[in-house]
């Protein structure tokens, strides 16, 4: 088994996708000779030529709009937004065209394109380089929004995203680019739209995705030390959402914590908490806790540690899951009104 980083797995996925289908084209800012600022497209323009992997003018809306046009003609563009916050100029193209073209034309024009976005913080970069923008896309019908947490998923999910007939917003947890694991590529993992249980447990379920899956696993390890058995679910696909896997886990454990880096307010964790509660209400011993980024603009490097949900914050949320609640339905245990998840903690 070879040690492979997420970045290498994504690079390999693009290489194999380019080789497998002549209609696949990869372009964006600096993805050509440079290989992308994170080197995810390293070597592709040299290997496949500047016709298949190339640098475009510096304009995200134009990059996305031209990808729409290429897809209309049967190509499968894979475009890169250099950083999360630099995808915002393309927002109109994504929301009003990428997401709607199939619906608008009743399936006559489909847009099999992939928008790759390195997202999230934790790499000590200045402002605009650490946003977690998944909620904006997840709330937009017509888009598939996925995010891999492992190298194997990075490869498999990106291949699947390129092959998908639907447009896919492919969110890459940038601080995990360099995380290595043993994996033999090419590898195909579970279908892109399924959540997976990364660690089994019986007392509570930690629901995470992308950059926070690893944090959740570390927290589960630590919780085990404190005698609590935490199951960890990696969502993988934010939209569509795999209710079956998530609900099955929470019904088993009766308690849940959802973890993400984006600000908690109106963040994706709210959807997770809401639908888990809807589906598991009578199994829940405590409200679903949200451990999220603070409700602030992404902080400067020296302070990002306070913003990013870490093991300690997950553990203290776990502690607040009312382990020995002795309450009668309809009445509040002492202090329950003050029971708050971190979001409005």
């Amino acid at each position: 088994m070879a040690r492979t980083t997420l970045g290498q797995a994504l690079n390999r996925a693009l290489r194999d996708a380019l080789a497998a289908d002549p209609d696949v084209v990869v372009y964006g800012e600096d993805v050509g000779p440079l290989g992308g600022v994170f080197r995810v497209t390293d070597g592709l323009s040299a290997e496949f030529g500047e016709d298949r992997c190339f640098d475009s003018p510096l304009a995200e809306s134009g990059i996305t709009g031209t990808a729409v046009g290429m897809a209309m003609y049967g190509r499968r563009p894979v475009i890169e937004m250099q950083f999360d916050a630099f995808a915002y100029p393309a927002f109109q193209q994504v929301v009003s065209h990428v997401a709607k073209m199939r619906n608008r034309t009743r399936g006559r024009l489909e847009l099999p394109l992939v928008i790759r976005i390195p997202y999230g913080g934790g790499i000590g970069a200045v402002e605009h380089h650490g946003d977690s923008s998944e909620a904006y896309y997840a709330h937009t019908p017509g888009l598939r929004v996925v995010t891999p947490a492992t190298a194997a998923d990075g490869y498999s999910m990106l291949r699947e995203a390129v092959e998908s007939p639907d447009p896919v917003v492919f969110l890459e947890p940038k601080r995990r680019y360099w995380a290595a694991e043993d994996v033999e590529l090419p590898a195909r993992t579970e279908p892109m739209d399924r959540a997976v249980v990364r660690r089994e447990g019986s007392d509570l379920t930690i629901i995470a995705y992308g950059p926070t899956v690893d944090t959740a696993l570390l927290a589960a390890e630590a919780a085990a030390g404190e005698g609590r058995s935490a199951e960890v679910v990696d969502l993988r696909s934010l939209s569509p959402f795999d209710d079956e896997t998530v609900a099955a886990s929470v019904r088993r454990t009766g308690r849940a914590v959802v973890v993400h880096e984006a600000p908690g307010f109106a963040g994706f964790g709210a959807e997770v908490a809401a639908r888990v509660t809807e589906q598991c209400f009578h199994y829940l011993e405590a409200p679903v806790m949200r451990v999220c980024g603070l409700d602030i603009p992404y902080p400067p490097p020296h302070l990002e540690e306070f913003h990013l949900p870490g093991v300690d914050r997950i553990l203290s949320a776990v502690d607040r899951l009312q382990w020995e609640s002795s309450w009668v339905p309809g009445t509040a245990p002492v202090g329950a009104p003050e029971q708050r998840s971190e979001v409005n903690a």
Binding site: A59, T64, G65, T66, M72, G74, Q93, N103, E110, D243
Partner: protein, 379 residues
């Protein structure tokens, strides 16, 4: 390995301040060669085809306007007065070329041969797009201004890479040129050298905003200079000139000459849409001046004075137009075909589990409503 040095680019000539015109306001061939700018009047067949399509287009436009007034369309933005731009541009397209129209350009779609009822699907409120874009090589009518321009660039780029000589014609308004998306599309087209012709129908108004609040450029055609594109200023009420210049630009673009930007100077003689109230912002006098520059009358006068058109032929065009209008009336009197199920069918290639559940819930509610009298909508 590369250096930053660019391949030498020719400084594009600044477009003339005087629009290219082949037929003058009185319907005579333009005498001044400077005003013709080296373009020749199209042949008789083309001129006749232009007139015919404009007659049919105008009749369609009037019919659609009437249906809107009757409330049988959700809204209708008239093409009236801009037929020379839309017909002149579309008839210059080859079979496999693509048209990228806006909400303003129903007449261009009719001229392209799209079923007129399918053209009106959007404005009737039946669905977002009624026709098959691939069957007609016509993109859906675009409402978010200037956003389809980059689609045309990408489509023609892809076509070239696949060995096709497909070109594209993008229709956009004067106001749309202010959007960042217009700029990005022009630049991508020029840098990628894609065969796209951007035809700006400068009808002087963006709803209530006059051109001088929109741009300080000498002409909109001058925008071409900053992209290294060819730029042309043409009389937008002269179908012959629009056709000649667009045909030339498309041919150049197809043979690798790069994209072009054409400003067709015309006028929106009708309100922005049937629900607009132009009295609030513009003088009737100006409208009247432009009504007298009618593009149909101009071309008809030329054809008649050159003995290329007689009453019988003209009557034939009118009959065709009336028949089309009648069939549009008749077919639009039938109820819309779409049902609630359609809402869920094409959000994704396959409806998701959540969408299947929502579809079932809506069906159930609809059946329940059947029994108890109509869904309550947003009330």
């Amino acid at each position: 390995m590369t250096t930053s040095e660019a391949p030498p680019v020719a400084v594009p000539t600044v477009p003339s301040a005087e629009p290219i015109r082949l037929i003058d306001a009185e319907g005579r061939r333009t005498a001044d060669p400077a005003v013709r700018a080296g373009f020749d009047l199209p042949g008789p067949d083309t001129l006749e085809a232009l007139l015919r399509a404009m007659v049919v287009g105008r009749r369609f436009d009037g019919q659609a306007g009437a249906l809107a007034k009757q409330g049988r369309l959700a809204v209708y933005p008239s093409s009236r007065g801009q037929e020379a731009c839309q017909v002149g541009g579309v008839l210059a397209l080859a079979e496999n070329d693509w048209l990228f129209p806006t909400y303003r350009d129903c007449v261009s779609l009719v001229a392209r041969g799209v079923d007129p009822v399918e053209v009106l699907t959007l404005l009737r409120g039946d669905w977002h797009c009624g026709y098959d874009p691939k069957a007609y090589r016509c993109a859906p009518q675009c409402t978010p201004l200037a956003t389809n321009a980059s689609h045309a660039v990408g489509l023609t780029y892809a076509a070239r890479r696949k060995g096709a000589d497909t070109a594209a014609l993008v229709l956009m308004g004067d106001g749309a040129t202010s959007e960042g998306d217009a700029h990005e599309a022009y630049n991508f087209a020029a840098v990628w050298n894609t065969p796209v012709v951007f035809l700006i129908q400068n009808n002087q108004w963006a709803i209530s905003v006059p051109l001088h609040k929109q741009s300080a450029a000498p002409t909109l055609a001058h925008k071409a200079v900053g992209y290294g594109m060819r730029g042309y200023l043409v009389d937008g009420n002269d179908a012959a000139a629009v056709h000649a210049v667009v045909a030339h630009a498309l041919a150049e673009a197809r043979s690798g000459g790069g994209p072009a930007l054409i400003e067709a100077r015309t006028y929106r003689v009708e309100p922005h849409t049937n629900s607009d109230d132009p009295k609030r912002y513009r003088d009737d006098a100006e409208v009247e001046r432009w009504r007298r520059r009618d593009p149909l009358a101009r071309l008809e006068a030329l054809l008649r004075s050159e003995g290329l058109l007689d009453d019988a032929r003209m009557a034939g065009f009118q009959d065709e137009a009336d028949r089309l209008a009648a069939s549009v009336r008749e077919r639009l009197s039938r109820p819309p075909r779409r049902t609630a199920d359609d809402l869920f069918a094409h959000v994704y290639a396959e409806p998701t589990a959540a969408l299947r559940r929502q579809r079932a819930a809506v069906r159930e509610a609809a059946e329940h409503a059947e029994r108890t009298g109509g869904p309550d909508g947003g009330r």
